[in-house]
Amino acid sequence: MKDMDDSSVTEDGRTIGGVVMEMKNITLRFGGVVAIKDISFDIREGEIRAIIGPNGAGKSSMLNVISGFYVPQEGDVWFRGSKRPAMRPYEVARQGIARTFQNIALFDGMSVLDNVMTGRLNYMKTNIFQQALWRGRAEAEETENREVVERIIDFLEIQAIRKTPVARLPYGLKKRVELARALAAEPKLLLLDEPMAGMNVEEKEDMSRFILDANDEFGTTIALIEHDMGVVMDLSDRVVVMDYGKKIGDGTPDEVRNNQAVIDAYLGVSHD
């Protein structure tokens, strides 16, 4: 295991810090089905960490464990140097973990602006009585957070649609709004569940640019699941490969690409 504090510099000049999140021997079962079997890996500050694997490998389950939606039967989650006790998903969010979803989970009845503003919920401290009064503290808080949200909206180039109800938006823009909502939380760790699923090449390029920029500009630590290997190999600093709930590879994109177990999992093994 690497030391907590050692930091390194990538070839493109970004600094990768110490370990932010560490999964230790995670096992997750649904009844008799073992979704994740004894997996350990870490995520370091400022890096882009990919989780890949064939369908049903347990990648999304892994993300759900990190975001507190599933509680693993065995193993511990360590976040920022301390073991995370059992907690509800909203408490995990409050610790600074934000995520997007494989199937877009935006709030359809609300405008883009309101959706992104929900990302700021954990920064809103006024109580319901101050909110009812509005003038004063609540209004000031709304304005402060609106400024942060407007910066994110600016960053993701969705200014023109900020007042549009999200139900009216096309798929690619919805994905972008979801990223905006997660970024608005200024997360310490951002989880992206297939951010480029179902996109065309151009949309994928845009999305990749936004992910890299977010990492570069805000220093956001990112863990992502993605099926497009080209994208994964280009974006990520380190890759975890899963198959049937087990970890079969872990390392830089080049190491993973040449790992025999990974090649077997993706291409199959001949049985002669």
């Binding site: 909203y90 319901i128 909110q131 009812a132």
Partner: protein, 358 residues
């Protein structure tokens, strides 16, 4: 044509998040408020107050309350009648126990008590949703009516089992009992409606409202991005109960004066307020007003047209009303689930460009 937002620039985020961002809306709002507070009280008479204005004002408060729960937070409730009864009986007990205290205090406290009761009955919402929650709140409706019928303490052991509003005043002006002047009851209710509407708007445009809507639109995602479902749901029940309690207190003390709980606050009342919210528009404050106005005015208009103009028998007209309301509910649910408020929004969008649609 009469609706323009061009040239109405906003230079701060406060201006963008104000209640009426468009200048025209703002002026119209001030005009309506001025007429309601400064003109109507001088012309209102007993017929207008009792047939149209008081029911409209009081049902609007109830509809806003229910809309917060159903329209904004997505928690179905069929217990509105029961919660209004809590407000009414709380008000009655307070009025008889503390005769010298101002009616303002009594009504506000009744709202507070109803909020607590509503939160208690909202607890099942943490586990169940949809139809099952509707049934749980239906249980609240029947339980509360039963309670107020069977426990004599609530109606001060009166022989009839009814509660009667004694004469109470606000700063020397009588607002309850048979001697209350029409303008006083009207203004009293209007003040409560205005405050409730402003509070509802403030809550729904800010953080609290967004967490309610997040729970309504996708509760699992809401929890993962950091909404505490317990807090969001119970605060919606609380605020909703507060408004419904106020409306129940006013309905009893200011409007009816004497109440028999099963008759005034039965299940039909729950459905009536729910219909107001559905027809008016789920998730819209304006819709609550529109729905209340529609369902209060409909019987009056039908009576004027059917009985007075066409000379039909009264009972046929009364039955017609049920048929029309039923048909309208079906039409709205199929054609425009967002109700009158949505029709109004669409009309405004069209009118922005009229008469040159390109």
């Amino acid at each position: 044509m009469f609706y323009r937002e061009a040239g109405d620039y906003k230079v701060s985020y406060q201006q963008d998040s104000q209640t009426f961002p468009i200048k025209f809306d703002r002026y119209r709002y001030f005009l309506v408020m001025a007429v309601a507070f400064l003109v109507v009280p001088f012309f209102v008479n007993d017929y207008w107050a009792n047939a149209i204005l008081l029911p409209f004002l009081i049902y609007s408060i109830a509809a806003i309350g229910l809309n917060i729960l159903v329209g904004y937070c997505g928690q179905v409730s069929l217990g509105t009648g029961g919660f209004m009864a809590v407000g009414a009986y709380a008000c009655y007990k307070l009025m008889t126990a503390f005769p010298e205290v101002s009616m303002f205090v009594h009504v506000l406290l009744s709202g507070g008590i109803t909020a607590l009761v509503c939160v208690a009955f909202g607890l099942p919402s943490l586990r169940i949703k949809g139809f099952y929650l509707a049934v749980a709140t239906l249980a609240a409706q029947f339980f509360l009516v039963w309670l107020f019928n069977r426990v004599p303490w609530f109606y001060n052991y009166s022989a009839s089992g009814q509660i009667n509003a004694p004469e109470r005043d606000v700063f020397g002006v009588i607002v309850t009992g048979p001697n209350a002047p029409a303008w006083a009851t009207y203004l009293f209710s209007l003040i409560f409606l205005t405050v409730c509407a402003i509070v509802a708007r403030n809550l729904t445009r800010g953080t609290v409202g967004r967490s309610w809507m997040a729970i309504r639109d996708m509760d699992i995602a809401a929890e993962i991005i950091g909404v505490n479902p317990l807090k969001a749901k119970l605060s919606a029940f609380g605020v909703s109960g507060f408004f419904i309690g106020i409306s129940g207190a006013l309905f009893f003390a200011v409007y009816l004066g004497a109440v028999e709980v099963g008759e005034a606050f039965g299940i039909t009342k729950s459905f009536l307020v729910l219909f107001m919210v559905i027809i008016g528009g789920l998730g819209s404050i304006f819709g609550s007003f529109a729905g209340a106005a529609f369902l209060v005015l409909l019987p009056v208009v039908l009576k004027v047209v059917g009985v007075d103009l066409l000379g039909w028998p009264t009972d046929i007209v009364a039955h017609f009303q049920l048929v029309i309301v039923g048909a309208l509910i079906i039409v709205f649910l199929i054609a425009e689930p967002h109700g009158i408020a949505q029709l109004w929004r669409v009309a405004k969008e069209k009118l922005r460009l009229w008469p040159f649609p390109h």
